[in-house]
Symmetry: C2
Subunit: 124 residues, 2 copies
């Protein structure tokens, strides 16, 4: 991860152009539009590096599987619309964890996944 390559730039660019969590296959597809020889092994290796240096975060979504998103965003929840199958980031936090965990338990971090219908799909 010390050298600059076109493959690396293509992968990072996918996240800069789309401001939403991406799956590996999406990243590969987007990257191949720039570097058509781009290999999946290269994508996996670079994603691993980008997570290690704190540029990306992994999300393992309970229904949709593994996504990668830019790190450093403020805390948010994830909303999966089962009509259009899109994954939304909902800013803010609706969890009142301090009032909630049993005595002695210390919560350092949490993740919330919501499932339902988004405004676009609910509009019918």
């Amino acid at each position: 991860m010390r050298r600059k390559t076109v493959q690396k730039d293509a992968i990072k660019n996918a996240f800069l152009m789309e401001s939403r969590p991406l799956r590996v296959d999406e990243i590969l597809q987007m990257g191949r539009k720039v570097v058509k020889s781009l290999n999946q092994a290269t994508v996996y290796r670079n994603l691993k590096c980008l997570v290690e240096i704190g540029w990306l975060r992994i999300i393992n979504h309970p229904d949709l599987g593994i996504f990668y998103e830019r790190a450093g965003k403020e805390h948010h929840h994830y909303f999966h619309c089962h009509a259009c199958d899109r994954l939304f980031e909902i800013p803010g936090c609706a969890l009142h964890e301090k009032e909630f965990v049993p005595p002695g338990f210390v919560t350092e971090r949490h993740q919330v996944f919501l499932f339902g219908i988004c405004s676009a799909c609910g509009r019918t």
Copy 2:
């Protein structure tokens, strides 16, 4: 799933004896204490059936991967202690989703995963 077999009973018993979410390899190990010939394919097939008939639920934990738990329990959150690596079920709900989702969005279901230190490990 119409016939009663020792394999099936062994798998169901694992959940009746342990009242916590179980991983496939744990279920296989526990089942083999009863039926030493128990095969992983059999475990997978039975787990699938038990999910279909609503006896089990699948949990895909963001950090720990796939677990199975008895269905029909009241809603709860999951607390992962990164010291002892155990997965706790926290009864109740600390999510105020109605006050929270953007207008037009309808939440039907949610899952909350907490990460931290449990009371036993924090006591030190």
